[in-house]
Amino acid sequence: MKLKDERVKSILDSLRVVKNLYVSTIIIGEEYSGRGSLVREVFPHSVAVDGGDIENLKSTLAREDEIIIKNFEKVKEPNSLDFEYKRIIAIASDSMDKRVIDEKFAFIYHLPPLKERPDDIEVLSRYFLKEAKETLMVDMDITIPQSRLDISKNILSLKASIYKEVLLASLNSSDIEEALFRYFLDSIDGNNAYRESLGILERPLLLAGLKKFGSQLRLSEVLGINRNTLRKKLHEYSID
C-alpha cells in the first residue's frame, strides 16, 4: 500500500536518507495515524521497545545500535538516556515536551492526523475494503459513502468502520433474524418486553421507509397501514 500524502512521502524519503546514519529521529503524531507503519517500512528489522518500560529500554540501548522507541512520551527522565553512537527512531504523541524533543533529536517529523490527509483516507479505505471483503468472504460490489467513514481515531476507527459497513451490506434476512434472535435471547426481561422490543423492528423500518418513499402518504400505502396509525407510530418513535 502506497500512501499519497506529500508530507508522508517526504517523511519516508527523509527516513530513507538517514537510515544508515547514527542520528536520533522522532515522529510525532496522533495515535493510530500511521507513525509505526512508516518507521517499519524503512526499519523493518529493528528492535522495538516501549518507552514505558524503562529498564528494558536502557538495557536495549546498551546492547543495540539501532532501536525503535515506541511511546517515547512515556519515558521518565528522557535526558538520562544515552543516544551516542546510536540510530534512534522514536515515536511519540503530540503531548511530548518540545524542549526535550529539541535537545534529544536531530530529525523531528510531524505526521498529520488522517483527517488532514484526504488522499491517504482514499488509499486506506480502498485497502481495508478489499481486505474486509476477503476476510468476511463477501463477494459483492460495496460503495461506502465518505460520511460513514469514522476517522476519529485515525486508521484504527477507519478500519473498524469499513469492516462494519461491509458486514452490514452483506447481511441477508436470515442473518438479521439470527442477530435479532441472539439479541432478544440476551435482552428480553421485565413486564413490557413486547412493546420495548418491537421498536427495534419498527423504528428502522419507518426511518428507511420515509427515506426511500419521501412522504407519509406513500409510505402508508407501501406498508399497508392507515395514515393515522403511521403518524401515531412516527410520533411514538420521535420521527418527524
Binding site: 517523511i11 536518507v17 546514519l21 542520528v23 543516544f83 553512537y85 536531530a106 530529525f107 523531528i108 517529523y109
Partner: protein, 233 residues
Amino acid sequence: MNTVSIDYQFIVDSDSSPVVLFNYEGKIVWLNNSAEILLGYVEKRELFNLALRYAPKSFGTNTILLNLNYKHLEFYAISVSYNSEEWVALRLYYRPRTTKERKLNSKNLITTDINLLLEASINLFKINYNRKLSLLVDKDLPKIKIDQNSFSRLLRKSLESFRQSSRIDISLKITIGEFMVIEKRRYQVARLKIEANGRYTDSDRDILYLSENLDVMVILDENSITLDIPIIN
C-alpha cells in the same frame, strides 16, 4: 648581494596581510592571495572608498590605526600608498588573535558524507517550507569525520532560522586557501552558507553552542549563516 633578481612580488603575494592595488577608477589591477579571501567578505568598492578616504595628501604612504571587521576577519590598521595618479594600494593588518587554542572534540566522530546529512536536513525542512530553495553542492567533497547527530541538529536549527524567508540559497563547497587550525594541525575548510532575505535569530544561542562543540566556525549575519567545517578525515 644583487637584489635586482629577487622576485619581490612573490613575497607580497604570500603575505598574510591583504594587499589590493586599484586603478584610479576603483578597478582592481592586482591583489595578493590574502586579499582574495578578504574579497569573499567585503565589496571591492568598500575597500576602494577606504583607500580614497585615508590616502596621504601627496605621494607616499599613510598608515593609521583603524578597527575594521568583515564577518570574522578583524583588522586593526591599514596603509594606503601611491606614487602615481594612476593607482593606489591598500594594505590591511590583521588583528593578532588571542583566541583559545581549539581542541579537537573527538567524541562521536563518524566518517560522513555531509552532502547526505544536508540532503536529509533539507528534506525535513521542506516539509513545512514550500518556497524557492536553491542548493549548490560540491559532489567531490571528501567524507568528513563529524558527530552526525549534533551536526544534524545544527543544520536543522540553522535552516529553521530561515523558515519564513521567501527564497533560500544554500551552497556547500571547499574553500580555497583557508584553513582551520585545531590542536596545531591545519585542516581544509568546507563552507556551508545559507542565505536569504532575512532570518530569525531565536536559535542563535543553540547554533553557537552546537558549532562550538563541533569545532565548526559559525558566522551569524542578518541575512545568512555560514558554517566553516574542518575537513577532518
